[in-house]
């Protein structure tokens, strides 16, 4: 990645690990300076490991069972970034709320003028 910028992702569940080995990997890697928690259809824990640029991403479902665990070699995991589609919806929502606010403000001003 340092030379080409190419990112990589390893699915820990695709590796046949003996009991305890996954925990050994986690204990060996963790933890670095960054820790983020997502709340998207259940929590996700994102840790930058002791090795900068190596991230440990664990997805849980709404019952807190692990549904995926990945090691990502990247500057920042994609899932932490704001998504284009969500931003477009958020913009619509913001404009709609501002419009409502403006309408409400206008109505109040009109009411005061009439008084």
């Amino acid at each position: 990645m340092l030379e080409t910028g190419e990112t990589r992702m390893i699915d820990l569940r695709s590796i046949p690990l003996a009991p305890g080995e996954e925990q050994t990997i986690i204990d060996t890697l963790c933890c670095g300076e960054v820790h983020a928690t997502l709340n998207a259809l259940g929590p996700s824990e994102i840790h930058e490991t002791r090795f900068t640029g190596v991230w440990l991403v664990t997805h849980y479902n709404e019952e807190n069972s692990v549904i995926g665990r990945f090691i990502e070699i990247t500057k920042i995991p994609d899932i932490l970034q704001s998504q284009q589609e969500d931003m477009a919806i958020a913009l619509q929502q913001l404009e709609s709320e501002l419009d409502e606010w403006g309408e409400s403000d206008k109505t109040e001003t009109q009411a005061e003028t009439n008084t």
């Binding site: 259809l41 479902n61 709404e62 899932i79």
Partner: protein, 366 residues
């Protein structure tokens, strides 16, 4: 403008967004799906793009000689997961247990779905088909056989849900009073994906649907027509009690020290070595546990003829040496002994199934 989600051209992305699922949540689901389907993480964007644009497929669900346990398995999910949202997002055009319409109105819905989605719809079948007397099981006066043949004619693929539809299941067990057969015994010219189990694991059903939506093809299948992703390894190979087998530590009864210590249930009849399914990894009840984790041997419900397999509490085979000695060999030879025991058991079970004879522990010792 809000899109009409009842329209057939609604995409899965539209359906998920209408339920308030963010793109980030969707990507998380795709990551978990790639992991579940044993696909490389590099496929995550491909899955996301394909699912986003996928049209809601028309699904016709036929229930024949069954107990409705398979439908219960799928619809009784503990929480509204995205897997269940995927299921909600398909156009389930016919399912006589779930739909409001009945009788001729229901059949009209099935015929309309077949006509509108010719050669594109999926048929899901649970239950076996009686071949002795068509009157044993009919729907709106139509025999199960006729309904299956008629509906399958223009289907893109057929998914059999549950061991009854996949292999005949309990209705097929000796003495098979209705002449029950599996879907694959009747339909020979369509791709059939067998999702066996009594009942099958819900995520396996949605995994197959997700694969179809993502790639437009059926997944890689094993020699029994089951998706390799979920049925590629035996329960024994993925069992957390496997190390006890390798060490020769077995529960001899349900209340002895071995049982309390969580040792291997092989001697109590566990069919894990001959059973291929994802229970040991996917688990049940929202990932809480699976039968072996709850202290009960696997009964092999996802295999053909499991009901005639020689008794749930009889060991599938008795090694010629004592098991402790076998375990020493096992430790030296890795999984070889387990595989061999499994193969031996499968052969004997298969022979028993063909003959419809009950296999006793004495037979297995011969």
């Amino acid at each position: 403008m809000t899109k009409d989600l009842s329209r057939k051209d609604t995409t899965l992305g539209d359906a998920l967004r209408s339920k308030g699922i963010s793109r980030r949540s969707f990507l998380k689901f795709c990551a978990a799906t790639a992991s579940m389907m044993a696909l490389p993480p590099s496929m995550i964007p491909t899955i996301a793009n394909a699912l986003e644009k996928a049209r809601r497929p028309s699904v016709i669900w036929l229930s024949f000689q069954e107990c409705t346990g398979c439908t219960e398995s799928l619809t009784r999910a503990h929480t509204a997961t995205v897997e269940s949202l995927i299921f909600d997002s398909i156009s389930l055009d016919y399912h006589h247990t779930l739909q409001a319409a009945a009788g001729h109105a229901a059949e009209a819905a099935r015929e309309a779905a077949m006509e509108e989605n010719k050669d594109k719809y999926l048929v899901v079948v649970d239950g076996s088909i009686p071949m002795d007397n068509p009157g044993y099981s009919t729907i709106a006066g139509i025999s199960n056989y006729d309904m299956l043949v008629d509906t399958a004619k223009h289907a893109a693929a057929i998914v059999t849900v549950g061991t009854c539809a996949a292999f005949g299941g309990i209705p097929h067990a000796k003495p098979n009073p209705t002449g029950a057969v599996a879907v694959s015994d009747i339909i020979k010219d369509k791709p059939i994906i067998n999702v066996s189990g009594c009942p099958p694991i819900p995520v396996v059903i949605t995994g197959v649907l997700t694969h179809f939506l993502t790639f437009g093809t059926i997944p890689d299948l094993d020699n029994l027509g089951r998706p390799k992703t979920f049925f590629g390894q035996s329960i024994h190979d993925r069992c957390y009690r496997r190390p006890f087998y390798d060490k020769g530590l077995f529960a001899e009864s349900f209340d002895d020290e071995g049982a309390r210590e969580g040792w291997c249930l092989y001697k109590l009849g566990c069919k894990g070595p001959t059973t291929y399914n994802a229970c040991a990894t996917t688990k049940w009840n929202g990932g809480v546990s699976f039968p072996i984790e709850s202290g009960h041997p696997c009964i092999g419900c996802s295999e053909p003829n499991f009901w005639d397999g020689g008794g749930f509490y009889k060991a599938i085979s008795i090694p010629t040496e004592n098991l402790t000695q076998t375990a020493i060999y096992s430790a030296a030879a890795g999984a070889a002994v387990g595989v061999a025991a499994g193969t031996l058991g499968r052969i004997k079970k298969s022979a028993a199934g063909k003959a419809h004879d009950k296999v006793t522990i004495d037979d297995l010792e011969k």
